[in-house]
Symmetry: C2
Subunit: 402 residues, 2 copies
DNA sequence: CCGCCTTTGTTCGAGGCTAAATTTAGTGAG
DNA sequence: CTCACTAAATTTAGCCTCGAACAAAGGCGG
């Protein structure tokens, strides 16, 4: 559904897309492949014939028919490859190694100081270890980080929270690792994961909104991530909500994030006496859960402001669905009352029914998202560009093209 | 530049795109056509050969070479067709008839009451007259209206300001007129015009923001209009800017439009004593121009609020450029001071350089935009859909397919 | 058991686009 | 004037995809 209407893939993209589909959605019939990828059955027959000959895929059992000829399921001969995903934050790098179907093989976290002059070299070193530790065919490395990335392929990064400006992350990592490297904004990587494994199967246009240290947002439009003119779309954390107000990491005052980001919540909570001056976000959440009114009010007010702002974003973008993710979502129950009241009330009547889903939080979420940049590249030729081509080449020739 | 990277047109789309290009950008060489449309020179040679045979285009003069073989310019044999554009408002319909290159042939305005039960029939009648009065090949009719339109082809409209809900505008007009009809949100039509004739030639991603009775916004992303999941994107006039505040036509309170739309400005001006209770927007603007402080303050405050909100929109969408249009733009000088100060200050540093251009206002703007839906359809197969195909058929067989 | 239906999957011819090589038509240096 | 160079336009061969017709394979009602 989400993919129908997508541009017909051409050239070896079809082969890659078929392989990617079998990897991400599991065994499928030829007819299904044709429907999902929006190509003709004739093309699927030809493509699969070739892939069968090369023994990249195999025919599995037939499924019982429901009135017509029973479908023959096709599956990958084996995990045709894996990917490594890394999420870079201000104090650590989270790394996962995943199979083509998205299952996490290994996962770890390494301390990291992005402000050091040689931070990029350090990052390259960390990833080099991960690449070396990966066994089996490695399709590529996906990197997610909090900042604007001009394109997945070139990977030129502006990330104020990391202290990086015009940093050539993509090029450096590529040179250091010798495998395809795709770089994107961290929230966009979550959106890419949703396209491949999540709600993208049912919805073509949705937004992924994250709550955590900051507030982020990735927009999926007609099955692919909208990145804006310079990869800077989705900075909803820096929507100004008041003319002045608390100052924000971005240098301005009155940003949404300055109110409802982790630091903003803590500052408000301390001022209101809801927690002591040394309290953490966990302290605050505990107090709110315990029913302490001042603490609960912090979350309720944050939910209201967040809801009001998100209503504006919905009016601007008109998504089908909003998916909430990120660390902060663990405490969503505390936000929800204030949010729902304010959000629904300030939506235009025609939009009031929009679905908002809070995903459960998992530690690996971000890094798995980064890995899915690689796994999504067969479906998103435009975004993945030249590095995506390399990924596709590797997907089709297990002995690692380069 | 803007169009490069666009999906290669296929099938008869190439012929239509070549004709459309020659119509909208004037005579071009084959090499230019190939570059702009992103197709191979070989295809252009083949396509133009056929069009030359059919005498739809002709070879014009050669241009002096700069080191290589001189280019031969190709041009349309004659105006290969025209289009009719109509903008529907709460009290009138503005209609223009344009040539393929966008020059306005005729223009008029007809009173119209959208709240009447038979409003759609009345609109069909008005347009039937326009179609009858049009001489020469008519490619189609474009209709722009203030509301959400699910798709240009089906033309199912939700327009609170017209009192229309789930109104089958497209289908009805099509049945009544017997020519291709494309329907879209009015601001999107301005955006379509910008793609074909305006800043779309230099920018691939920009926003068109209108100031007038309400505040609207159309987003162009990678050369085509982003419509959102249900054609409702760009309702930035209904971004909530306060928790409560003046009530708005959409049923909510505190919308941007309630403050800086025409009604909002007037209400604020009356309350501040800047104009009398019977004053109009013209009165207010005159007073402000004359230097009356209370009147000037109304505009300055509106500019500030508008700037702050637009900064948030820029953070969300990340366009390359903002084009300001609409009736209200006549008084932009009055808004500008407040706007610039607030807008730039509340933008993130990386975005602070974004260009904002105020287009000059012309009476026909809206209706010409609607007409350009038709003229843009060769370039935007996805948006224009089945009706676009009909337009393309008519573009290639002057004796009017149907 | 037998047609008739539905759905899957294949074959084949046609159309459309492209890359690469080639031809055409100029400029400009010596 | 000639030769090298450049860019435009064309030709050619080949690949990719699709539509349409057809074959395959089962369910279902009589």
């Amino acid at each position: 559904m989400a993919r129908s209407g997508q541009v017909s893939p051409r050239g070896d993209l079809v082969r890659a897309a078929v392989l990617g589909l079998l990897g991400t959605r599991g065994a499928s019939s030829r007819a299904d492949i044709a429907r999902v990828l929006g190509i003709s059955p004739a093309t699927v027959t030809q493509t699969t014939k070739e892939l069968l000959q090369r023994e990249l895929i195999t025919e599995l059992r037939s499924v019982p028919s429901n009135g017509g000829r029973p479908a023959t399921l096709l599956g990958l001969v084996r995990a045709a490859g894996g990917a490594i995903g890394a999420k870079v934050t201000a104090d650590h790098v989270a790394i996962v190694s995943v199979d083509l179907d998205g299952t996490v093989r290994t996962s770890r976290s390494v301390p990291f100081d992005p402000s050091r002059p040689a931070a990029l070299e350090a990052l390259a070193g960390i990833l080099r270890d991960a690449v070396a530790a990966h066994d089996g065919q490695l399709l590529g490395v996906g990197v997610g980080l909090p900042g604007a990335v001009d394109s997945q392929t070139s990977g030129l990064v502006d990330a104020p929270t990391l202290g990086w400006s015009r940093s050539p992350v993509g090029r450096r990592l590529r040179d250091a690792l010798g495998v395809p490297v795709l770089v994107d904004n961290d929230v966009n990587t979550l959106a890419a994961a949703q396209i491949v494994y999540g709600h993208g199967r049912e919805y073509a246009s949705f937004m992924v909104v994250t709550i955590g240290l900051g507030i982020g947002c990735g927009t999926v439009f007609q099955g692919s991530v909208s990145r804006g003119a310079h990869g800077g779309a989705g900075e909803i954390g820096h929507i100004p909500v008041t003319d002045d107000g608390p100052s924000c990491g971005c240098g301005n005052t009155g940003c949404l994030e300055a109110y409802v980001g982790e630091a903003g919540l803590l500052a408000a909570a301390v001022e209101a006496g809801a927690i002591g001056p040394r309290g953490t976000i966990a302290t605050l959440a505990r107090a709110a859960r315990a029913g302490k009114p001042a603490a609960a009010a912090i979350y309720r007010d944050a939910g209201r402001l967040f809801g009001r702002t998100l209503a504006g974003v919905v009016h601007t973008v008109d998504p089908d669905l909003i998916v909430l993710m990120g660390e902060g979502i663990r405490d969503w129950a505390l936000w929800e009352t204030g949010f729902e009241e304010s959000f629904r009330r300030q939506l235009m009547p025609a939009r009031r029914g929009i679905r908002v889903l809070a995903e459960s939080w998992s530690e690996d979420q971000w890094a798995v998202g980064a890995a899915s940049l690689v796994l999504a590249s067969p479906f998103d030729a435009v975004a993945a560009g030249a590095q995506g081509e390399l990924v596709r080449a590797r997907l089709q020739t297990p002995e690692a093209a380069r």
